[in-house]
């Protein structure tokens, strides 16, 4: 177990930011912390890092209790903050070197580490640039390089892709997976479910300071009743046919509005074929057909009754 | 009026900061005005008593005794003893202006015509010490007169005559239309230091707000808006004006309330207000100009100091104008503060208010107004140039 958070409570005055939060992260995972803005992701991260005081609970990292002066633990953590945390007065190289130097005292060793980090985020051409001259995406990459140059075993990324162009975003996501392959455990927070779905091996969904669901994305999707959703563009569908469709296996809900038929299933396979066969058998002509797998948004919607994104 | 509103929203956010500035400068202003005039009067050789410690090593000498009793009359003698460190300390703390040591056998030596000397240790160039020096010289030059021409009189008589001659002083009369009431000075002082306070406050206030305004992305957003640059500047200037007028009103209002006793006439108050209002416009322009250079807090501290202290020292806010050298004055005449102080001094010396008397003051106000306009135009031009070149 890399991280073990038990019963964590953090209050800001009246507001309960973390409400008996439990989190377990296994070695080698890419662990996603998904939740809308204000759900307590960053607060949880800051508590785990011992930056914030909390009211109750225990936090263990690498099996040891995490404290502000637990330097042996901190040595193996890399952190990429939500806000870009670099010095405007230092160049790209100097910034990475400075932050790496807080972890690695040996100069020779540091030099190779810094070079590797620069290589890793692809800032080779910008070594001597000051952060102000970098574009938003490049700045984010520098921000990441500063956090990972010392080759930590645990990397925590707090919304690293906010306000980043798609190209840099892909670069960043790929990089995270590469780091994971090289052996690092990753904690990744985001409110972009696509990203989380794309890279995370395990996901916890947070809302109002609590983990409301966790597991692999398949497990999460399996948790909710709604499964596949099929949309069919068709005319002339009568109440009778709709009633029949409702009786097909696994169907949970049927809607028909403005020539658009939506059929929801709670599981089962080959639902599409069954539906199309049904339509053909009744000579109902149809146009565009597409099937949607449930998203994490549906999971969130199902559990909380609200959209993941506002 | 979006820019205008934003200005005040930022102002509202920086309210605690503004309160600190306003508080400190109000405090300074009060201290300036209540403490400064008394010291300033001492600098004008008012025949106030100087403070001295006397060490008489010639305790038996008749003339020395007479001299000490003369000093007792004219000076405030402080008994400190003869310990050197104690004397040094007393002088250091300005408990005394000087130490007067009468050497042994002084009286006898003097009568014998040997030209002995009184030893003085004084705070150099302190008014009290210079005054003491004058009194001592006056005493002994008179005594010498009687020694040489008094027909071989006894030392007691020489002492008596000397004291008698020195007792009488010239009559000084303040003219009917005089403004010699010292409390009246306070209003003059208040308005004089107001100039410093306003420059400092407005540079700090306006640069603080403009720092938020000029943050790169915000500025670019503003520049992208369909608002004309000129209109935007106008709104900013208007907002700064409102801020400045409010600060000015607080400072002036407070001064008038505090020094109500010093108010001689409504016309004088009006002139003081007019003069300071015009100066306020200058400060506003200076603040706006400064905001073009101030991009972070540390620079702010330095720029406001250079502008406020520099202008005020140069143009006679802290050091009275008549004490400034003519070269300095010539240079200072290129600053608006110089004309402000000049006008201020003249206003407080006014005794009637016909056009002849007031015209020069109005002229000085006009010069300040021209400064205000010029500085503002320069600032706007620089701003325009900058926006074009590297927005």
């Amino acid at each position: 177990m890399v991280i073990s958070v038990k019963d964590l409570v953090k209050r800001y005055g009246q507001l309960v930011a973390l409400d008996h939060l439990d989190l377990q992260v296994e070695k080698g995972e890419v662990f996603g912390l998904l939740g809308p803005n204000g759900s307590g992701k960053t607060t949880a991260i800051n508590c785990i890092l011992s930056l914030l005081r909390y009211d109750k609970g225990t936090i263990e990292i690498f099996g040891k209790s995490m404290r502000p002066d637990a330097y042996d633990i901190k040595r193996d953590i890399g952190i990429i903050m939500q806000n870009v945390a670099v010095f405007d007065e230092l160049t790209v190289y100097e910034n990475i070197n400075y932050f790496c130097g807080l972890y690695v005292a040996d100069k020779e060793k540091r030099r190779t580490l810094v070079e590797e980090a620069i290589e890793f985020v692809g800032l080779g051409d910008f070594r001597k640039f000051y952060p102000k001259k970098l574009s938003g995406g490049l700045l984010r990459r520098l921000n990441i390089a500063c956090g990972i140059a010392h080759k930590p075993k645990l990397i925590i990324l707090d919304e690293p892709t906010v306000a980043v162009d798609p190209q840099s975003r892909n670069n960043i996501l790929e990089g995270i997976l590469r780091l994971n392959k090289e052996g690092a455990t990753i904690i990744y927070t985001s409110h972009y479910m696509e990203e989380v779905e794309q890279i995370c091996s395990r996901i916890a969904i947070m809302d109002k300071g609590r983990v409301i669901a966790s597991g692999t994305k398949e497990e999460l999707k399996a948790m909710i009743k709604s499964g596949e959703k099929i949309n069919v563009h068709t005319f002339t569908l009568g109440q009778k046919e709709l009633g029949k469709i409702r009786e097909l296996p696994h169907v949970t809900a049927v809607e028909y509005e403005e020539d658009q038929l939506t059929v929801c299933y709670d599981g089962g396979r080959h639902n599409l074929i069954v539906l199309l066969d049904f339509l053909k058998a009744r000579d109902i002509s149809f146009g565009k057909v597409y099937a949607q797998q449930p998203t994490l948004n549906d999971v969130f919607l199902q559990i909380t009754g609200k959209q993941l994104r506002d | 009026m979006q820019v205008f509103k934003t200005f005040f929203m930022i102002l509202k956010k920086s309210a605690p900061q503004m309160c600190i500035y306003l508080g400190v400068f109000l405090g300074l202003s009060i201290m300036f005005t209540t403490i400064a005039p008394s010291t300033q009067q001492a600098a004008s050789f008012e025949p106030s008593a100087f403070r001295a410690a006397v060490i008489n090593k010639d305790a038996d000498g008749e003339l020395s005794k007479a001299f000490v009793s003369y000093l007792e009359e004219t000076a405030e003698l402080v008994d400190i003893g003869s310990d050197r460190e104690a004397l040094q300390d007393a002088m250091f703390f300005r408990k005394i202006d000087c130490v007067i040591t009468i050497p042994e056998n002084f009286s006898a030596d003097f009568l014998a015509g040997k030209d002995p000397q009184i030893q003085t240790s004084s705070i150099k160039d302190s008014v009290g010490a210079v005054y003491a020096q004058m009194q001592i010289d006056k005493y002994w030059s008179t005594a010498e007169l009687f020694r040489d021409f008094g027909g071989d009189a006894a030392p007691e008589r020489i002492g008596g005559w000397t004291a008698e001659s020195l007792r009488e002083q010239a009559v000084v009369q303040l003219s009917d239309e005089s403004v010699g009431d010292p409390s009246q000075n306070q209003l003059n002082y208040h308005f004089r230091y107001l100039c410093y306070v306003m420059i400092a406050l407005m540079i700090l206030g306006i640069t603080s707000i403009m720092m938020s305004f000029n943050k790169k992305d915000l500025r670019m957003r503003n520049l992208c808006s369909p608002l004309k640059l000129g209109r935007m500047n106008l709104q900013i200037v208007l907002a700064s004006l409102l801020f400045s007028v409010a600060s000015w009103a607080i400072l002036v209002g407070l001064g008038l309330i505090l020094y109500m006793k010093s108010i001689v006439s409504a016309q004088m108050v009006l002139l003081f207000c007019l003069n300071s209002f015009v100066m306020m416009l200058c400060c506003l322009s200076i603040g706006y100009l400064a905001s073009l250079f101030v991009k972070n807090r540390n620079v702010q501290g330095a720029v406001y100091n250079i502008a406020s202290l520099g202008l005020c020292f140069l143009s006679g806010v802290f050091v009275p104008q008549q004490l400034l050298g003519s070269t300095v004055k010539a240079v200072a005449s290129f600053t608006p503060t110089f004309w402000y102080v000049k006008a201020n001094d003249e206003i407080s010396a006014l005794s009637h208010y016909d056009w002849d008397a007031v015209s020069s003051i109005v002229g000085y106000a006009g010069i300040q107004l021209a400064f205000a306009a010029t500085i503002l135009l320069v600032a706007l031009a620089i701003g325009r140039y900058r926006r074009r070149s590297n927005a």
């Binding site: - | 201290m31 009687f146 540390n298």
Partner: protein
Amino acid sequence: MFSHTYINRLKIMVRQKDTMFWSLLFPLLLATLFYFAFSNLTSAENFEIVPVAVVDDAAYREDALLTETVKAVSQESDDQLFTVTYTDEEEAAKLLDEGKVDGYIVMESGQPKLVVKQSGINQTIAKAFLDEYIKTGRSMETIAEQNPAAFAQGLLEKLSERNSYTKEVPLGKDDSDPTVNYFYTLLAMTCLYGGFLGLKCVTDTMPTQSPQAARLNVAPVHKAKAFTYGLLAALTINLVQTLLVLAYVTLVLGVSFGSQIGFVLLAILAGCVTGVSFGAFLGTVIPGKENLKVALLIALSLLFCFLAGMMFIDMKYIIATNLPLLSYLNPATLLTDAFYTLYAFDNHNRFFLNLMLLGGMSVIMCTASYFVMRRQKYASL
């Protein structure tokens, strides 16, 4: 670890070019301005010629001695005291009112009287002149009674003689020129402005203040140590700046700091330590964001320097005599005073008292900020 933090902190501060530029420019520029503004000040007693009016009536012309003396001191020469306008009383009053003259002399029952509109240096000079005249008149009357032959013995020649009866024996080592105090307060201000650097150090170390600091806090470094190294870097820069200002003020402007350069440097070191600690103290102890702290730093350092006599030399003495405790608590006064004692006195008791107080102040401020900084978790970021 030390060199890594120290060097990088130096880089971060030095590369804030506009900050470096302005914080160095302001004391240099002000020192230059002081120099020019005060060049005339010490010789303020070398008064300019005083314009007076004399009511030239029969009573005045009767007094031959006064007429002659006035004529003598208003003749164009190096010793010229007055420029005199002879006129009638009405006109004289008008001249006075218009500010063309500083006062006018009119005879009243056989004695000259001075009429002025306000008190001032020129008016006092005029009065002193009349005092002298009256005294001389009295003395001559007395002598004439006692020794009618005196005039024949050269009384009048004697009168025009000017002797000094005093000898200045300085208590300290140097003659003191009070305007040096302005430069001392300016140097004190430069030291106190090191507070900005101390404050910046807090901003970059305290996670509530900046994301960079948060990053530092998750690294395996002792925060208080990193903070201390950062402050040392700030101190270094503040020292270099202050020394540059000192060099300019002494070598270029020729302001005297006494002859004990070692002690002057010691005082500057103490001043810089206090300045940086002051910034660290404000930064850690005052809650809230940087803006507020900067405002406090600016306002307080100005207040300190004001009380140390930056705008009025006398302020320092007024405080010292009336509120001595305040002098002991004001770092600007202590530093100004330390320079002053080196300049004016030959013993170091007072100097070391000042330095000890500065040191004590720094220790208290640093300890306080250490305890705040040592706190490792925060209620909110």
